[in-house]
Amino acid sequence: MIKIFLSVVILFISLQANEVNIYTHRHYPSDEILFKKFTEKTGIKVNVVQANADQIMKRLEEEGKYTPADLLLTVDVGRLYYAKEKGLLQPVHSKFLEEVIPFNLRDKEGYWFGVTKRARILVYNIDSVDPKTLSTYEALADKKYKGDILTQSSSSIYNQSLLASIIAHKGEKEAKTWANGVRSNFARRPTGSDRDQMRALAAGIGKVAIVNTYYVGQLINSKSFSDKAVAEMIGIFFPNQGENERGTHINISGIGVTKYAKHKENAIKFIEFLCSSEAQKVFTSVNYEYPANKNVSPSKLLQSWGSFKEDNIELYKLGQDNAKAVKIFNEVGWY
């Protein structure tokens, strides 16, 4: 009797142990598919709390060494950088990850790894804009774009990272002049999502919008008749492609093992799974993100937009300059 009881207890404990707990910010259907696939493949149960990254990081911080979370999965490199700074993550080493994830897309010491890439590009109204006249992010501050520019508010973390990249390349002063110039060229006070910028573009409000690639993908593949109409009216442009230019700004979704992870091995297995070609194909085909794994090619839709030169800045620098970027936005009145 005691034996049975003990074995049940042991079974229970081992069942308990065979899991991995994730705090995630990502809210895409691709992730749910992948969580399931991982469990099918390894038998490791995936437990998830999905919430805003900054808030869930606060929870992680307060839970300290007792946290049940093994992994932190989020979008935007600034948050990963911040999680490392706050001491919420631990370094891990994996030959596979170091081989397939390019150097600039992961933390030097292995605190976090990029899982997917997204580019922040320009889209334009095909009726009113000749793409030959488009060139760089910097050019958007030019007076000739007065009343033409559409983008989200400064609370969009993607705008914050874009500005942080300009700070990193050109310094704070120039970045501030740029932000101020773009702000004075706004077609309207920033409102709505990236998709809404494209909708406005198609409606003839403004001519050029700054948006993330996967939102363009979603729009093109939307079931909604009105968004299909929008998709037909917009063109895609990768800025800063010239010979002496730095390339289009990219950002990542990334993941790191928490400092006090209780299932570290499972956690590493999970990261390796997300970066495997099997998972990377799901990211790129379901959510239209660019794979971070250099050996996996993007989905057909993304390929149809052509290949482009990426800004190869080490992404942690964007995290460093994130707060500076927010301050500049506040100062120039880019609300």
């Binding site: 809210h27 998830v48 999905q50 805003n52 869930i56 929870r59 839970e63 409102t191 406005a200 979603q218």
Partner: protein, 525 residues
């Protein structure tokens, strides 16, 4: 000496306020640097848009709420029963969902503009602005005023209308001179709820990019990575609300709103002619724009997407939402009833102001309250672990924590409903019962409870529906793999998969309808 009733009150207040105390403590470490930066740049714009939004939404909810309550209480016309029910329905649609729906309907390539172009009008009406936000929030929040004021009107109409009418006063005069002033506690109480929710609303202000204090708080927290200065702003906002409410309470401190209860039937006036049509028009507006149009939108897309999303998980999510909401509403209404009753029978200064302190959880953005809750429970957990009582986090991330958070958050609704309603019942009734030898406890059940039934039910509905819609606390505090209708709706909407949210939004509406239908049908109000 402290009596048992007051003691219970103090203990309860202490527990509910604990997380707020953690928030305040957190705010004390704020960086003056950050605050100076905010003051020099965005703060004035944020404060002015907050004030504009609060006053405009307050104004419209007042007109809509009091107007609809008045017409459905004092007049008799066809379908009045339907309107009594339907006017509460806009509350079942989360504000930010209403915001998304209207931005979708008014999209350039969508229904409204296609219709315009078919009529030859080429103009584009952009709805992503503060005026839309004011209208949408008013539609989403006026049911607070409608329900609480209606409960108050119901109580005074028979006691006052009959004698006054028999003395020859006109109905209009009775209403303006007697009933309306007597309903001040209900009007103020419900408006306070509207304003607090307006300040702490995040979803729609973020999407429409209206810079109120809540986005400023998040700008500081998520952007400048300074959660301390962010909570500092939240605490300041909270103090402002607290001061305004206390002034109001002080102002009406000496006035008495008590009336004797009477169950005599009042003959409702029949409406005829253009007045009837005007009434239909006025009552239909909020029902159509606040409920019917969003419902049709939600219905159409639910039908389109239902098959894909209706799996076994959906039932679990439905159950989660229902269980938490019913538990929260029940616990809050019972506790709020005791709190209000105590300050009624022992009207000490402390007891009278406790209800304001108990409302604090509603004056801050949910995400900020969440910080306090997380800190409180991780501290308790750490103590438990260090004393070998538990081995892992026991309370943090548990269902219990979530429930506690809801209670802290929505206690304001319960206590405001109870307070404003108790103010209307003469304490003499209580004294009479006591002089007949009944205990306070027995008096509570025999005298007050029956008189408070309406308010209790309406308060219950409001808390229940608020909990179903609750988002920021649920998102960050929930246990692993725990979803509610609200979190599902939000996550999909946030991924800009708007049409996919509809089935979950429909779930919120259907579940909200359950208590509403039961109570309205039973009460014949």
């Amino acid at each position: 000496m402290i009596n048992r009733w007051s003691f219970f009150n103090y203990v309860l207040t202490f527990i509910i306020v604990l997380p707020i105390a953690f928030v305040i403590n957190h705010a004390l470490g704020s960086e003056t640097q950050t605050l100076i930066h905010l003051k020099e740049t965005i703060l004035s714009e944020y404060i002015s848009s907050t004030l504009i939004l609060v006053f405009a939404v307050g104004f419209f909810t007042l007109i809509l709420g009091v107007g609809t309550a008045y017409l459905t209480t004092f007049y008799q016309f066809k379908f009045v029963g339907f309107f009594v029910f339907a006017l509460a329905l806009p509350f079942a649609i989360p504000t930010y969902i209403m915001g998304y729906i209207y931005s979708d309907i008014f999209g350039y390539f969508n229904h409204f503009h296609i219709f315009l172009r078919s009529m030859g009008i080429k103009e584009y009406f952009n709805v992503l602005n503060i005026y839309s936000v004011i209208l949408i929030m008013s539609l989403a929040l006026y049911p607070y005023v409608y329900l609480l004021v209606k409960a108050s009107f119901e109580k005074s109409k028979s006691a006052l209308l009959n004698p006054a009418l028999s003395l020859g006063s006109s109905r209009k005069r009775v209403f303006l001179k007697i009933i309306l002033p007597l309903s001040r506690p209900a009007i103020v109480g419900s408006l306070a709820l509207v304003m607090m929710e307006t300040i702490s609303e995040y979803g729609i202000t973020e999407y429409y990019n209206i810079k109120t204090l809540t986005p400023a708080i998040f700008n500081t927290w998520f952007g400048l990575h300074d959660s301390k200065s962010a909570t500092y702003l939240a605490v300041m906002a909270m103090l402002m609300v607290l001061i305004v409410l206390s002034i109001e309470k002080y102002n009406r401190g000496k006035a008495s709103y008590k009336i004797e209860n009477s169950n005599a039937e009042v003959e409702k006036q029949r409406l005829k002619g253009y007045k009837l049509y005007l009434t239909y028009f006025f009552l239909s507006l909020p029902v159509i724009f606040g409920f019917l149009i969003p419902l049709i939108w939600i219905g159409v897309y639910s039908y389109e997407y239902a098959a894909k999303l209706l799996d076994d998980k959906f039932l679990t999510i439905l159950t989660n939402s229902f269980t938490t909401s019913i538990l929260t509403a029940f616990i809050i209404m019972v506790l709020a009833f005791f709190v209000a009753y105590t300050s009624r029978i022992f009207p000490t200064v402390i007891n009278r102001y406790l209800s304001k302190i108990l409302s604090l959880g509603f004056t801050m953005p949910g995400a900020v309250i969440a910080i306090g809750i997380i800190m409180l429970f991780t501290d308790i957990d750490k103590w438990l672990i260090e004393n070998y009582i538990t081995k892992t986090l026991f309370l943090s991330g548990s269902f219990f924590t979530l429930l506690f958070a809801y209670i802290v958050r929505f206690f304001a609704i319960g206590v405001n409903t109870m307070d404003s309603s108790f103010e209307r019942i003469s304490i003499d009734l209580n004294k009479a019962s006591r002089s007949l030898g009944y205990s306070y406890f027995k008096t509570l059940f025999k005298v007050e409870l029956p008189l408070m039934k309406n308010a209790l039910f309406f308060g219950f509905i409001l808390v229940f529906m608020s909990t179903i819609k609750e988002l920021p606390l649920t998102l960050v505090l929930r246990p692993f793999n725990y979803d509610t209708l609200a979190t599902k709706t939000y996550i999909l909407a946030n991924a800009q998969m708007l049409h996919e949210t509809s089935i979950y939004a429909l779930g919120i509406i259907v579940i909200s309808l359950i208590p509403l239908t039961i109570i309205i049908l039973k009460r014949h109000v």
